[in-house]
């Protein structure tokens, strides 16, 4: 049973974002993903404001699992955040 909601902010062309998606899939974690590069400019600005609040570095991937935020493809941190460590 997954312990929290997982939200991923990613870029569709980014290798680190792909690694993160692959890891979540391998671990059987359900998650919502926004590929920010695919949004129209208005929606993109709105989402970027949110990403900046979560991750002041505003880089991708930014993963939110419950109250935890992991920036970048950091396997151990991601596993811990989503509860599969």
């Amino acid at each position: 049973m997954q312990k929290c909601h997982v939200q991923l902010y990613a870029l569709s062309t980014c290798s680190h974002c792909k690694d993160t998606k692959d890891l979540l899939n391998q671990c059987g974690i359900k998650y919502d993903c926004v590929d920010v590069d695919k949004l129209d400019p208005e929606k993109q600005r709105e989402v970027l404001t949110k990403v900046k609040e979560l991750n002041p570095q505003c880089s991708f991937p930014t993963l939110v699992a419950g109250d935890k935020v992991v920036v970048g493809f950091k396997e151990a941190e991601i596993k811990q955040a989503v509860g599969v460590a």
Partner: protein, 111 residues
Amino acid sequence: MKVKELYDFLKKAQEAKGFYFNKDRKRVFELLEGLLTNKERYGYMCCPCRLAAHDREFDQDIICPCAYRDPDVAEYGSCYCNLYVSPEWNAGTIPNAYVPERRPLEKRFPP
């Protein structure tokens, strides 16, 4: 341009300058696909791991190879995307560690 053509072209041009593709060929081809996607989207080969502003002048520093590649390869053995790496990175004699974003914060928000 097809991804294999881009691979062959960049490999030759960049190796002559002392920059090498990651030995992980699958990753390299995915990143090159991303560059071709961005070329089609924006008209220039913007870094696939960064959000483009769709403004060539604003994004000048992240047109691949980006302005941060040389210092990142020198300091970490790899560029931000892990596309270009040092021989030591490929040989595994240095840790293949996370490369932090070097682009200035104010450049990460499209104008």
